[in-house]
């Protein structure tokens, strides 16, 4: 099989996007002040988190809802809840 990037893989999945209602919020100032390793930037299997212009962004639309980031985050910077009922990733295989 040809190598695929994470965004290419996410493109195969089915999502019901809850436009305008992000289920992830990053409190940047807490990351800057308290977080030693910014684990969210690399542990997330969906590469939801990235650093843009020196700020941590959450591209929440591709979230697989595994919860890895929430357990890995050592601070209170991450406000992570499940999307509203019926929204988010919809596994067809599972």
């Amino acid at each position: 099989m040809k190598r695929m990037t994470v965004p290419e893989k996410l493109g195969v999945n089915k999502y019901e996007l809850d436009e305008g209602n992000p289920h992830i919020e990053v409190h940047e100032e807490v990351c800057r002040a308290e977080c030693p390793d910014l684990a969210c930037l690399y542990v997330c299997p969906a590469n939801v988190y990235s650093e843009q212009n020196g700020r941590i962004q959450a591209d929440w639309a591709g979230c697989l809802e595994c919860g890895t980031c929430q357990v890995a985050c050592p601070t209170e910077a991450l406000h992570w809840v499940f999307p509203r009922g019926g929204f988010g990733i919809i596994y067809r295989e599972g």
Partner: protein
């Protein structure tokens, strides 16, 4: 919905939730089963081998109607290095006879079916609604949930909301989950024609193969890989302990790509088409990570209760989920007969669980999480095995040595003392 009071609310229509709803409905209770996904299974992901014997108790001969994929007859453990792999390959036709030891399942299909069974038995399924929080009375007893802006009341709430269980946390049954107690599971489902799968894995008909892979699969991160056959697809993935992912600053997505491209895996998936990419947390802390399992008006089951076993050979969760569901459901049925849903009354759940295979197995494998922390397991031993096997097969026209000096030299090259080896062997046997 607000006027009515149910006997039980089950939060989460995964295997644990639907199994407990089914059991309670079978015994005549009024049960509502709430699922945040648009249909049961839409949020759920497993490797997924189901060791389904326990399901017999709920649905006799379940395999005749359940959407199971293949019956696992071939079990392979593979120790992998960058270029080599050493396999223990076990095939037993006895596994292909009722009551069947294990099947591969795809949760989006399997969970949907199991929830339908609960509905047929009389449970009310409410999909597409997220439970926001638990409701408590002034004494702190759980009396229901708030979901989709409505309050739903019941004598008992069963938290079957998965590894991240916010409900157990909110009810004060557990604190924050430490990274060492969970692993991140990453999985791809890769479509291939069934004849191709049967040829590549030497399978006849609906026989199936389950590979667990240790070593370079995870590039040395504590954990392992898996490769399972479905009817017309393969489930391929990695389970990596989160503390080690964080410590090594590893990108799970990249490790996955390297794993798929490795010589041990690439030939199996060649020509396949990616059908889905998913991830899920796996409880791996064993008995030590289990939350308190009950409080007044509430019970915790399945992944939410931290029920998972990884022995290196087998990875289990769904069977423990069903076992805990049966124990919880029976506890609720008895509590209803007594008219007492206090913590004291519901503590019978803990006793039932202790008497069942669930806690027996959790205790049998209680040392497994510690044993699995041993770095030599992921890094050194696969290298050692590959080195010894290479020495045995490599005819380099330099004059061969006997096996014993070959082994001793390999141990030295891999920096393993005989004492390490003996200690790990003893610990391994005790842990597993």
């Amino acid at each position: 919905m607000t006027e009515e009071k149910f006997d039980a609310i089950v939060v989460g229509a995964g295997v644990a939730g639907s199994a407990s709803a089914l059991r309670m409905a079978q015994k005549g209770l009024q049960v509502v089963l709430i699922e945040r996904g648009p249909y049961p299974g839409s949020k759920n992901l497993s490797g997924g081998v189901l060791y389904g014997r326990v399901l017999q108790e709920l649905i006799p001969n379940y395999w005749e109607e359940a959407p199971v994929e293949r019956c696992i007859t071939n079990q392979v453990v593979s120790f992998m290095t960058a270029g080599a792999s050493f396999n223990i390959d076990f095939k037993n036709q006895a596994f292909n006879q009722p009551p069947y030891n294990a099947f591969t399942v795809l949760r989006a299909k399997f969970d949907r079916w199991l929830a339908e069974k609960a509905e047929e038995a009389g449970a009310m399924l409410v999909p597409g609604i997220k439970v926001e929080r638990v409701l408590k009375d002034s004494s702190g007893r759980v009396i229901g949930v708030s979901a989709g802006g409505e309050e739903i009341l019941a004598d008992v709430v069963i938290a079957a909301d998965g590894a991240t269980s916010f409900l157990a946390q909110e009810a004060g049954l557990r604190g924050r989950i430490p990274t060492r107690h969970v692993a991140t599971g990453v999985k791809q489902v890769i479509g291939l024609p069934r004849e191709v799968i049967e040829e590549r894995f030497h399978l006849t008909g609906d026989e199936g193969a389950a590979y667990t892979i240790v070593g370079y699969a995870t590039r040395g991160v504590a954990g392992g890989g898996f490769l399972y056959t479905n009817r017309e697809s393969l489930s391929v993935g990695l389970v990596m302990r989160l503390d080690d992912l964080v410590r090594t600053r590893s990108r799970s997505g990249e490790i996955m790509e390297d794993f798929l491209a490795s010589p041990a895996i690439a030939p199996f998936i060649r020509g396949g088409k990616l059908l889905e990419y998913g991830a899920h947390l796996v409880p791996e802390g064993g008995v030590d990570m289990m939350p308190q399992l009950f409080t007044g008006g509430m019970l915790v089951v399945g992944d939410a209760a931290g029920l998972g076993i990884n022995s290196g050979f087998v990875i289990r969760g769904m069977d423990l989920a069903i076992g805990s569901a049966i124990a919880a459901a029976d506890t609720v049925v008895e509590a209803k007969a007594r008219g007492d849903f206090s913590a004291q009354s519901l503590s019978a759940y803990q006793e039932k669980l202790e008497q069942s295979f669930v806690m027996k197995d959790m205790r049998t494998y209680r040392r497994a999480p510690h044993f699995m922390e041993n770095e030599r397991l992921y890094k050194t031993y696969p290298e050692l095995l590959a080195r010894i096997m290479t020495e045995i097969y490599d005819q380099d026209a330099q004059g061969k040595e006997h096996l014993l000096p070959t082994i001793m030299k390999s141990l030295k090259a891999c920096n393993v003392s005989l004492l390490d080896l003996a200690r790990d062997a003893v610990e391994g046997v005790r842990a597993l």
